[in-house]
Symmetry: C2
Subunit: 614 residues, 2 copies
C-alpha cells in the first residue's frame, strides 16, 4: 500500500479506536492512537495472515504485548474485514469477543495480554518453535509499550532472543513517552532503549513512529535482518492526532472527552479495507508422528525418586510423540529433564534461570502446536505466577512440573522448598494439580498430562520413595487410591506425595496398637476424588489430611472443598508445615513439621481418645 | 590488609568453605571458592561493619545474592570472629543458625537469599533508603552469581539503580562461568555483562577475580564513584584452587570428593582473624517522630471506594509517622498512593512497572527501619510471588496492598482482575490477609498494618461501596463483624469486601420472603474469627461463603480451615468465581459469577428447601 493510503489507514485506525472506546465508555484510545501508524504499515505491507484460517501454520504471529491498545487491534481486524461493524460495536460489552484486553475468544488472538511484559517472552516461545523445530516459516511481531520495558520479563526475553538469534522476531516498541500515571523513565530518549537492546544482541532501528515511510523501511529491514531479532524503536505521541489529548498527561485509559470533535479533527470516518497478504495456502504443519508409548516400568519395593520417574517418563513420551517439547530453567540435572535433553536434544529448550521466560516459552509453543513440559524447582515456579495466571486467560494447555517439593528436601532450607506451590496452582482457573508418591504413578500421570487441557501441574520429590504400585496400575486424573481399608477403620488418613508413605507407616504403628485407619493416596488434588473421600467420611467420620506444604491452599483445603457442598461434613483435621523450617535432614524436617509417621499416629490417638495424656 | 595476607585470607576462606561443606555432607563449596578472593578483599579492606552491633545504622549492608555460597559467607563470619569454630561446625544441621542458605536467624543477615536474582533488587531498596531518606551513610555490597543474571529481576534492579544514581550500591559479579547444570550463557565473556550493565547506567569495572590487587583497586573505585552504581565484573573459576574441581562441570552443589587432599592443596588450615572496620560508634539513626494519627473519617451511607480510603489513610499515617514509606508500580493513580505522593513526596518511591523490584524494595527498606506499604493491582502482585515467599523467610514485615480485586472491576477483563491473590497471600507463612468492605474499616486496618509483623496484605476495591461503619468503630485483626443477626437465622452468609454488600442485599431479599439469615463481614481472612464463625455454625448450622475470587485458596478455604479442627463441622457452601470472566459491567460480572445478591438468595433458598423448582 502506498504512503498516502497508509496515512489514511492510520487515521482510520485512530478514528475507529476513538469511536469504539467512546461507544464502550471505557478503554485506551490514546494508547492506540500512538501506535496507529505502526499498525497500519504492519497490517497493509508486512503481516502475512489468513484471517479465514487462523490456524494456518504459515500465518505470522501478532501479539499486542501492550494489550490495553485493544481498540487499535480490533480496528485492524475491522480494516481487514475479520470483524464487522456490528461486532465492533460490542467492544467491552458482556458476551463480546472484543474484550477490554485481547483474549483467544477471538480466533486471531493466540494468547491473552493485559498483564504487561508478557507478550515479548511469549513471542520468544513462538519464534523458538518456528526456528528451532523446523516449522513452516512465520514471523513473530510483538507490539510493546515503553512502560512495560521496566518489567524484568522483557529482559529475560531480550536476552534469550538475542542469544538464540531469533531473527524471525520483531519487537515494535511504541515509545509514546507516557505511562499510566505520568512520564516513563526514559520518556522520548530512544537511545536508552537502543543501547539496552543492542547490548542484549538485538538489531535496533530508531524511527519516527509517525513517519509512514520510515516505518515501512524499518519493517523491511527487520524482515531482511539475519541472525538477530530486530527492535523497531519508534518515537510516538500518545493520543496522536487530537490536540486536546496528544502527548498530554492524565489521558490514559479513558475515552476522549469529545469523541465527535476528535473524529472530525482526525478527518472523519473512513472505510478502507486492507487485503492482508496470505501465507502459501499449500503450506502445512509437518504431521507429528505419534508412536507407541513405552513408559518405564518400576518394580514394587524399589526406591526411586518421583523426579527420576518424571525424567524417564518424559523421555519416553518424547520418543512416542514428536510434538512433546521439554523446557527447563537451568536445573535439568535436578528436575531430571536432562534425561530428555540427551535423548531429544532438538526438542529440549534451556531457558536458563528465568522462570517467567520458561513459562512464557511454554505458552508460546503450545500456541504453535507443541505439547510443552516446563520444569524447575516447585519453589521457583512462584516466580512465574503471573504468567501461569495469564496462561489460563490464554486458554493455554501446558504441563508444569515442580521438583524439590516441601520440607522433605532436607538441608538446603526454606528458600528451596516448595511450600506454596499447591496453593498457587490450585487457585488457577481450570487447572489440574497432581502429586504422585511413587515412580509408576508418576509415569502414568506424566503421560496423562499430555492430553489435558489447561494448566496442569505435577509436583515431584527430591528424595527416593518406595514403589507402591505395579507398572500396569491405572491412575485416572480425579482419582485416588485406597491403600489401607477395613471395616474397623476408626479414621482416614489422606496423604499425597511423600506423606502417603508417612501415612502408611503411621497406619502400621497404629495397627500395632490395635487402631485401624484407612489410608488414601490423593495423587489428584484438583480435581479431587469426591466419591472416595465421601465414602471415607461416611465410613470413618473423620479425615486427617497430611501434606508437605503450608496448611493453606493445598491438600487440606482441597479436601475441605469437597465437603463444602452443603451436605453434612465429617470431622476434618489438617497436618501441614506450620513452622519456618531451617536446615535439617529430611527425616528431621518431617518430624519438625509434624507430618512424619509418629506425629500422624499421635494425632490419630489424640482424636480417637486413645492418647495417654501425661 | 596487605596483598600477601589477603591472599592467605582468601585461601583460608576456601579451606573453611571446603571444610564446612565436608562436615555437613552437602553445600556449595565450589561456588564459594570462586568468590573467595573477592570476599577476602571486601571483608578486610572495604566493609564497614560492627559485628557486635548488627543493628548499628552505620553498618554497611552485605547481601549474598548467590545465597548458595553460604560456606563462604560463614567462613567470613568465622574470620571476623562473629561465629566460633564450634558453631561453624553446625552448618546445615538441625537447629543451626548456619542454614544451607543465609537467613536472618543470623543477626548479620538482613534478608534471606537462595532464590536467585533477589539480592540485587533488595539491595536497591536498601540503597534507596540510605540515599533518599537521609539516613546514616552506608554502602550496600551485593555478591551476585553469573547464572542469576538471567533473572529479569536483576534487570529491574539494574534499571532502577542506574536511573536513581545509587552510587552507594556495588554489585560484585562472580563470573565463574558455570551454572548448576553447565556453562552459563556468556561463560567468561565479561564484556557481555559490561555492555548490558553499562547500557543500564552502571559504572563497570572488569577484573581478574583472583587478582587481589585488582580487586582492591576496583573496590576503591566503586567507593569513590559518584552518581552511578558500580559493578565489579570479576572473571573467576568455580572451585578455584583445587585442580580436581576447578573450572569443571558437574561439581556444583556438593562437597569436594576428597576434602583432606583439597585442604592440603590449598595450603592447609589457617587461623587469620580480620578486624573489620567499624562505623562511627556515635552515628545513630535519626529518631523517627511519631505524632498523633488523624485518620480520615467517612459518613455512614456515603459511597467511597476502599482504594480511596486506603490512599487517604496512608497519607494520614505518613503524616503521623516519619518511618512510613509508600512504594508503587506506576499505578499510583489507580491504587491511590498518589495521595501519599503529593503529601510526602520524599517518602514516595515510584518503582515503575516492575513488581518484583517493588516488593524487593519494600523488603530492603524494612531491613533499614522503614515501614513500607507497597501497592499495585492485586492481579499484578502475582508477579512478585517469589519475592513475597522469600520475604517470609527474611522475617520481613511489609504491608502489601492490591487494588482492583475481583470481577467487580468490570470491563477491563480477567487480565486485570485479582482472582488468585487471596490464595497466594494466605499460603504465605505467618501472613495476615485483610479485605475491608467500607472506607472507615479500611482506614483502621491500614493503620493496624503498620504494627503487624510478617507479610500483611490488604485487598482494595476499584468501585465505590457504601460506608457501613461509623468512623470510631474498631476492627481488630482476627475479628469480624456480624451485620445481621436474629434468633431465627436459618443460615449464615459470610462475605468479604464487595460481597459483604451483596450478602446484605441478599439478606434483604430473603427477609422479604420471610427467611432470615445472619450476615458476617469477614474482613480478616487470616487470621479468621473462629469464635464468631463457630457461633454462627452453632446457631445456624450452615455457612455460605461468598467471595469475588476463585473458589480455591480464599475465603471459602479460610472458613473451612476454621472447621478443620477435628470437631463436628457445620454444613458449608462456597460461592466464588468459577467462570472465566470477559468484559462486562461490574453488576453483570457479579451476576455472571453467581456472587450477586440474587444468586446468593437463590442459593439460600435452594439450601433451605424453599426454592421453587420449576
Amino acid at each position: 500500500m502506498r504512503s498516502e493510503l497508509l496515512t489514511e489507514l492510520a487515521q482510520q485506525l485512530r478514528v475507529d479506536s476513538v469511536r469504539v472506546a467512546d461507544m464502550a465508555g471505557s478503554g485506551h484510545p490514546t494508547s492506540s492512537m500512538s501506535a496507529a501508524d505502526l499498525a497500519a504499515v504492519l497490517l497493509a505491507n508486512h503481516l502475512t495472515y489468513d484471517f479465514d484460517r487462523p490456524d494456518h501454520p504459515g500465518n505470522d504471529r501478532l501479539i499486542f504485548s501492550k494489550g490495553h491498545a485493544s481498540p487499535l487491534l480490533y480496528s485492524m481486524y475491522l480494516a481487514a474485514g475479520a470483524v464487522d461493524e456490528s461486532e465492533f460495536r460490542t467492544y467491552r460489552r458482556q458476551g463480546s469477543r472484543l474484550e477490554g484486553h485481547p483474549t483467544p475468544r477471538l480466533p486471531w488472538v493466540d494468547v491473552a495480554t493485559g498483564s504487561l511484559g508478557q507478550g515479548l517472552p511469549i513471542g520468544v516461545g513462538m519464534a523458538l518453535a518456528g526456528q528451532r523445530l523446523g516449522k513452516v516459516p512465520y514471523r513473530v511481531w510483538v507490539l510493546c509499550g515503553d512502560s512495560e520495558m521496566a518489567e524484568g520479563s522483557i529482559w529475560e526475553a531480550a536476552e534469550h532472543a538475542g542469544y538464540q538469534h531469533l531473527d524471525s522476531l520483531t519487537m515494535i516498541l511504541d515509545v509514546n513517552r507516557l505511562g499510566q500515571r505520568g512520564p516513563t523513565r526514559h520518556e522520548h530518549d530512544l537511545g536508552a532503549y537502543t543501547r539496552r537492546l543492542h547490548a542484549f544482541g538485538w538489531h535496533t532501528i530508531e524511527v519516527d513512529g509517525h513517519d509512514i515511510d520510515a516505518i515501512d523501511a524499518a519493517c523491511n529491514e527487520a524482515r531482511s535482518t539475519v541472525g538477530e531479532p530486530t527492535a523497531i524503536i519508534a518515537a510516538t505521541k500518545k493520543g496522536r492526532g487530537v490536540a486536546s489529548v496528544e502527548d498530554k498527561e492524565g489521558k490514559h485509559g479513558k475515552p476522549l472527552p469529545d469523541a465527535a470533535a476528535a473524529i472530525e479533527e482526525l478527518g472523519g470516518r473512513r472505510n478502507l479495507r486492507v487485503e492482508v497478504r496470505k501465507p502459501d495456502p499449500a503450506a502445512t504443519d509437518p504431521r507429528t508422528e505419534v508412536g507407541h508409548l513405552n513408559l518405564p516400568r518400576f518394580d514394587v519395593g524399589d526406591e526411586i525418586a518421583t523426579r527420576d520417574a518424571y525424567g524417564q517418563a518424559l523421555t519416553a513420551l518424547g520418543s512416542a510423540r514428536g510434538d512433546i517439547v521439554a523446557l527447563d530453567g537451568e536445573v535439568g540435572d535436578s528436575t531430571r529433564t536432562e534425561f530428555f535433553s540427551k535423548e531429544h536434544p532438538e526438542r529440549y529448550f534451556e531457558l536458563y534461570i528465568a522462570e517467567q521466560q520458561l513459562v512464557a516459552a511454554a505458552v508460546g509453543m503450545q500456541a504453535c502446536g507443541q505439547i510443552p513440559y516446563a520444569s524447575t524447582f516447585a519453589a521457583f515456579l512462584t516466580r512465574a505466577h503471573d504468567f501461569l495466571r495469564m496462561a489460563t486467560v490464554s486458554r493455554a494447555s501446558i504441563s508444569v512440573v515442580g521438583s524439590h517439593a516441601g520440607v522433605s528436601i532436607g538441608q538446603d532450607g526454606p528458600s528451596q522448598m516448595g511450600l506454596e506451590d499447591l496453593a498457587m496452582f490450585r487457585a488457577l482457573h481450570g487447572s489440574t494439580v497432581l502429586q504422585p508418591c511413587d515412580a509408576n504413578q508418576t509415569t502414568r500421570l506424566v503421560a496423562a498430562m499430555a492430553e489435558l487441557e489447561g494448566v496442569c501441574y505435577l509436583r515431584t520429590l527430591r528424595g527416593k520413595t518406595p514403589v507402591l504400585y505395579g507398572p500396569d496400575e491405572q491412575f485416572p486424573v480425579g482419582g485416588s487410591k485406597v491403600l489401607r481399608h477395613s471395616i474397623d477403620d476408626r479414621m482416614t488418613l489422606v496423604g499425597t506425595g511423600i506423606t502417603v508413605h508417612e501415612c502408611l507407616k503411621a497406619a502400621d504403628l497404629l495397627a500395632a496398637e490395635g487402631i485401624t485407619v484407612r489410608v488414601v493416596d490423593m495423587y489428584s488434588i484438583k480435581p479431587a476424588d469426591e466419591v472416595t473421600l465421601q465414602a471415607a467420611a461416611a465410613d470413618t467420620g473423620c479425615l486427617i489430611t497430611v501434606e508437605d506444604h503450608h496448611p493453606q491452599g493445598g491438600l487440606g483445603d482441597a479436601v475441605a472443598e469437597v465437603f463444602s457442598d452443603g451436605r453434612p461434613s465429617p470431622r476434618l483435621v489438617r497436618l501441614g508445615v506450620r513452622n519456618m523450617p531451617g536446615s535439617a535432614t529430611p527425616a528431621e524436617q518431617l518430624r519438625g513439621a509434624g507430618i512424619d509417621a509418629e506425629s500422624i499416629a499421635a494425632a490419630v490417638k489424640l482424636l480417637t481418645g486413645t492418647a495417654v495424656v501425661r
